[in-house]
Symmetry: C2
Subunit: 206 residues, 2 copies
Amino acid sequence: MYKLYYAPGTCALASYIALEEAGAPYTAERLDFKSNQQNSPEYLAINPKGRVPALVTDRGILTETPAILAFIAQSFPQAKLAPFEDAFALAEVQAFNSYLCSTVHVAHAHKLRGYRWAAEEASFADMKCMVPKTVGACFALIERSMLRAPWVMGESYTICDPYLFTVGQWLEGDGVDLAALPKVMAHRKRMQERPAVRKVVEEEKA
Amino acid sequence: MYKLYYAPGTCALASYIALEEAGAPYTAERLDFKSNQQNSPEYLAINPKGRVPALVTDRGILTETPAILAFIAQSFPQAKLAPFEDAFALAEVQAFNSYLCSTVHVAHAHKLRGYRWAAEEASFADMKCMVPKTVGACFALIERSMLRAPWVMGESYTICDPYLFTVGQWLEGDGVDLAALPKVMAHRKRMQERPAVRKVVEEEKA
């Protein structure tokens, strides 16, 4: 039995969906970011980074979305969530997820979490102004060069799909023009039709 | 035969070392960042992100350090650079590398590449001021909670080691107090004694 620590609206949604898609035995434990529960001593003992997601397993605790997603895919091979038997195809999956975590998520984070990298209110405001442009540029690249169809990697649904869906949930709030992203929007719609996605999105809202 | 696009002083060093450690057949192609060669039309056709590393393979082009490192490890299993047969151990490797790319490298990038996330000179200066603190905090966590010994994952040398070594090359320039990082510094020294590391570091300097 796995335990996933998450908070609604965060990138932990990707791991949550992947657990559900894999048919993994798990429970989901919600953290309250409004009361800063992610920085409580209890949670820092689980994840000293004070972030979500964290996945408790019987071997120990895992963090970082790309690592957790690949772990779920490898642990439940019958769900075929990543091509572990093909090094190149797996690397394409990992490259996509790595781009989401290191560039796209980071661009988005400058909207509300500028204090991670600067100290002045004026800098936060400056960073916030750039977010539609920077996140927009990331998604323009995804639209143009990275997203195949119907799924990110083409015919096979993989761990890239819940992660793109998750980061894509932030587009409206980031002020990105959705009309420029027809493939991304079609992907979102396709995701919303999957029973696992529906179930997890409902649970996050509850 | 692989071809690695790199530039000296960048995170591409990690992939360069890994290719050498794996005994992979490869050539290394240096880009001149001073003349902005990474944004030339020729290179953007290889990597539309305008970044290094990029690894040309006979199946296609791979980007993103964590993906390239895992690809090298999986393609050359005899080099034992990652525990692909153990999903949990592999996830620990991937979580470490994911932290380096999404948090540590990003903290460092705010020193000279603030224009990625802001527009004003004052914001760049503010970001630059924070770098010793933010990169220092990342490395304090690595020192305290993540780096086993003698290698990142303990007894086994993995793809985490060249990546940590690479990001650690920036510590002095980032103004981080090395005296607070004895384990990281011992790891650097251990890395510098490896023939593959020596060779690649010499080639980058040449």
